[in-house]
């Protein structure tokens, strides 16, 4: 087991955002967390990477209890997160942002940069542009590319498809598959639940800080409760031609 | 709370001046002199015992104002001080309105004697004596043709410098003006201007730390002019801080020095002072001692109320350790002298009254 979380509780002041959550991620898996807004998905990821301290519970990564470990040490152990809101360093160029991804390893080998640029050609074009002036979607690409630079054992992705054009979303999911095939375990948070579930091995459904359902991704995909709330009925766009 | 009005009880004298804070040294010098006078007095038998109470203004005008009100509230019979000219301006009107005599050992601003305060006296000459005296000394004794006169933009420093400027012009010397910021580090602008003007004498109206900075930077820039300054710079510290650059600096004061005097009365004071405080009397210590003794003499003559003490002091003719003391109607000394000292081999050397003072040639 690569990651094991038991009875996690996290507070924001008096608000209890995570109320005793347990989950596991096995080596080589893609696991997805789905759930409505405010369910606590982001908080869970932040707690795993050490940006928030849990009030109770434990996090074990790769056989080591990391509950009290400082955030930067977890990165050294092989945890890397592309955060919600992208977290691009606005005053650094695209290239420097990518180099930051490999911070723990010093200067990244050219091959790593090439891989990021080949995954996202737009980034190659803009390698000297300041991160802060990229468009929303370009920043998202950069965030993912940067996370890959660390060669993590476990990659945490918080809504990687947010703000991306449909064409790119498709590409992103293909890329995730590829990364996973090359040996990286992925814990994914996604609103785009149907694509995410199709991609993953297992999934957890969160509601108000608790796991309310879990199982093989495939099973959840066909679970009626999940379908209604998170997958939406098959798209039936009304076509409106009238210009009122 | 002490209620020392009129008769009975021990009369209380108030000391007002900076005892803490960055301007404390002069205040402490005065206090030490005055305290010595009072202790000597109280040690005698058969006299009215007198207490001396400290009112620390930190040299700050607004604190002086509330301290003066406290003096009034406490009904002290007379005040030694206030020490500085700035604080005098807020404190004196209050003391005067409350009819409490106040005798300053060190405030030299000219305007203080011009407000018609009946309860004001001071035992040293004002800037109008020192400034012209300095100017005459520079022009006549030193024979300077061109003088660079610098002020530190403080009330005291500018007042003194302006008086020097005015008299120098009368004496026919060429005068150039400059200013420095006493809190600043870098006086290069001023030093460059001095260097360009190449004067015979540089005069500073200001205090010893600025003086030390200025001489250091002047000498480093190879300015050779003689350095002259007033009582604000008259302290051993100008030599300590200025190092070799301070040697040859001439420092005037309307106060005389007790150190190295041949007058037995002064020698006795010096000895007693050293015995009590463990250091030589410093600037204004002798004046503080004299003010204390004048007020004590009033009390010993049966003057117990503030009003009576004031009347007594106004008409006193007293031979002090610093100088003979006799007041005119505005509270100024009726006759006053200016003295000169010089930094020689890192020590202050008293040269005597300006009329006779002969600077020691440098070297």
């Amino acid at each position: 087991m690569l990651l094991e979380i038991a009875d996690l509780q996290v507070h924001y002041g008096k608000i209890e955002a995570i109320k005793g959550l347990s989950l596991q991620v096995d080596e080589g898996e893609i696991v997805t967390l789905i759930g409505s807004n405010g369910a606590g998905k982001t908080t869970t990821l932040k707690t795993i990477s050490g940006l928030r301290r849990p009030t109770a519970g434990s996090i074990v990564f790769d056989g080591q209890d990391i509950t009290k470990l400082a955030g930067h040490r977890r990165v050294q152990l092989g945890l890397c997160q592309a955060p919600e809101g992208r977290g691009i360093f606005p005053g650094m160029t695209v290239l420097e942002n990518l180099e930051m991804g490999a911070y723990i390893r010093g200067k990244p080998p050219a091959a790593d940069l090439d891989r990021a640029f080949s995954l996202f050609p737009r980034l190659a074009e803009r390698r000297r542009q300041q991160g802060g002036t990229l468009s929303g979607g370009e920043q998202q690409m950069l965030a993912i590319g940067r996370a890959l630079m660390a060669h993590p054992k476990l990659l945490l992705l918080d809504e990687p498809s947010m703000g991306l054009a449909p064409l790119i979303v498709t590409q992103i999911f293909a890329i995730l598959r590829e990364i996973n095939n090359s040996g990286t375990t992925i814990l994914l948070v996604e609103q785009n639940a149907s694509s995410a579930l199709q991609l993953s091995d297992r999934a957890y459904l969160l509601e108000t800080g608790r796991v309310v359902m879990s199982g093989a991704a495939h099973d959840l995909l066909y679970e009626p409760a999940v379908r209604d709330a998170y997958l939406g009925a098959a798209p039936q766009p009304e076509e409106r031609t009238d210009t009122s | 709370k002490s209620k020392n009005s009129g008769g009975g009880g021990t009369p209380t004298l108030a000391f007002m001046g900076a005892l803490t804070g960055s301007n404390a040294q002069l205040g402490i010098n005065i206090y030490n002199g005055a305290k010595l006078a009072i202790d000597q007095h109280n040690a005698k038998s058969g006299v009215t015992k007198v207490t001396l109470k400290k009112y620390d203004t930190q040299g700050d005008a607004t604190q002086a104002s509330s301290q003066a009100k406290k003096v009034v509230q406490d009904k002290d019979v007379a005040v030694i001080g206030p020490a500085f000219s700035g604080e005098s301006k807020t404190a004196d009107p209050i003391l005067n309105a409350a009819k409490i005599p106040f005798v300053s050992a060190s405030a030299t601003a000219v305007a203080l004697a011009q407000s018609g305060w009946k309860y004001f006296h001071r035992v040293l000459a004002n800037d109008d004596v020192q400034g012209p005296g300095d100017a005459d000394f520079i022009a006549k004794t030193l024979g300077a043709k061109s003088v660079y006169v610098i002020d530190d933009q403080s009330e005291y420093g500018l007042g003194l410098a302006d008086a020097v400027r005015k008299q120098l012009k009368t004496d026919g010397a060429t005068v150039k003006n400059g200013s420095i910021d006493p809190k600043g580090s870098d006086y290069s602008t001023t030093v460059n201007a001095i260097k360009a003007a190449n004067p015979d004498v540089v005069f500073l109206g200001g205090y010893y730390d600025a003086a030390a900075r200025l001489v250091k930077q002047m000498r480093a820039a190879t300015v050779k002019a003689t350095f002259v300054s007033g009582d604000g710079s008259l302290d051993q510290k100008i030599a300590d801080q200025g190092g070799a650059s301070a040697n040859g600096a001439l420092l005037s004061c309307t106060c005389s020095s007790a150190v190295g005097s041949t007058n037995p009365k002064v020698q006795a004071f010096e000895k007693a002072y050293v015995a009590k405080w463990g250091s030589e009397p410093a600037t204004y210590s002798a004046e503080g001692y004299d003010v204390g003794n004048i007020l004590l003499q009033a009390i010993d003559n049966g003057k117990k109320s503030a009003q009576d003490i004031n009347t007594y002091v106004a008409s006193i003719d007293y031979q002090g350790v610093s100088k003979p003391i006799k007041f005119n109607s505005t509270g100024e000394l009726s006759q006053s002298l200016l003295f000169m000292s010089e930094v020689v081999n890192d020590k202050i050397k008293f040269l005597g009254p300006t009329s006779t003072a002969k600077p020691v040639p440098a070297g």
Binding site: S49, V75, Q76, P90, Y103, I104, A150 | A212, Q241, G242
Partner: protein, 311 residues
């Protein structure tokens, strides 16, 4: 205007000299501001401690008169190291005691500013109580030899030392921040501390290093100051600190080259202005120019660098 012409060269030389000292101190403001967006008000005291450390080194070595040759170089280096150690340690302790606890609580920068002001008072008073409020004199260490003249300006050895040392230090720091991995960590922390953690940056360490490096720059400035002016005092940092912070803003806060440029510009403006309008107007001229520059370039001469980009 006549004075400006006649004193142009002396003003230039002295402006560059004091400007270099401003610049070195400004580096500390700029670094800390860049990373924490905190005006480290106590940085002036970091500098002050450095001057005392340099002074005590001279006392310790028993220097009483000017040295030359290798002895001089050796003493200067020791003095500089002592200054760097004194200032660097002070800065680090300051961070630990006065800022880190606030940082851990995620307190506002206003609270941190007050803490900084408090720390500044505290440090000043400690030194005032321990060493008195009077100026303390440095023994003369370096002969103030005039190397050559430019116009009427004397180029003196001690001034050259100040300018050269400042340039070298600023360049080294620039290389460090923009070229090294640690420097990249500093910049990342400045721009987005949370994400920096996700990249494996040890923020506490980076912050400490920032204070340390900024302190060391102030320490070098302190040594140069001591050698140049040969005086110090418990409140020596106060005015210099304000000037240095002005220089940092003038050059573009968070910008290392900007700090040095700002320092030199400020030094020159002050001296030119002072020679024309009189030394008493120096500060007024300096601040007026600052306002004018900011009106034209709202983020300083070279713009902001380390700081978070603004939405």
């Amino acid at each position: 205007m006549h004075a400006f012409v006649t004193q142009f060269w002396p003003s230039t030389i002295d402006g560059l000299t004091i400007g270099s000292i401003y610049g070195l101190i400004a580096l500390g403001y700029t670094l800390v501001y860049g990373v924490l967006r905190l005006i480290n008000f106590a940085h002036s005291e970091v500098f002050m401690v450095g001057t005392f450390a340099s002074l005590f080194t001279l006392h310790g070595l028993g220097i009483t008169h000017a040295e030359t040759g290798f002895a001089l170089v050796g003493v200067l280096i020791l003095m500089g190291l002592a200054g760097m150690a004194g200032s660097g340690i002070t800065a680090v302790v300051l961070e630990r005691v006065a800022y880190r606890p606030l940082r851990k609580r995620g307190s506002s920068r206003l609270a941190a500013l007050i803490s900084a002001i408090g720390a500044s008072f505290f440090l000043q008073e400690v030194f005032a109580l321990r060493y008195g409020r009077d100026l303390l004199s440095f023994p003369p260490l370096m002969n103030k030899t005039v190397l050559f003249h430019i116009g009427s300006g004397q180029v003196r050895a001690d001034k050259v030392l100040v300018v050269v040392a400042a340039l070298v230090m600023a360049l080294a720091l620039d290389r460090f921040v923009n070229g090294s991995r640690l420097g990249r960590g500093v910049r990342a922390t400045a721009q987005d501390p949370d994400t920096a953690v996700l990249m494996g940056v040890n923020i506490d360490r980076i912050v400490m290093i920032t204070f340390l490096v900024g302190g060391m720059m102030a320490g070098v400035a302190a040594m140069l100051y001591g050698n140049y002016f040969e005086l110090t005092q418990y409140n020596v940092g106060f005015l210099l600190g304000i000037k240095a912070f002005t220089a940092a803003v003038l050059g573009g806060i968070g910008n290392i080259r900007g700090a040095l440029l700002g320092g030199l510009t400020l030094g020159l403006i002050e001296n030119y202005g002072g020679s024309v309008f009189g030394a008493q107007w120096k500060d007024v001229i300096a601040f007026t120019v600052l306002v004018l520059v900011l009106m034209v370039r709202p983020t300083g001469l070279l713009g902001e660098k380390l700081t978070r980009a603004r939405a």
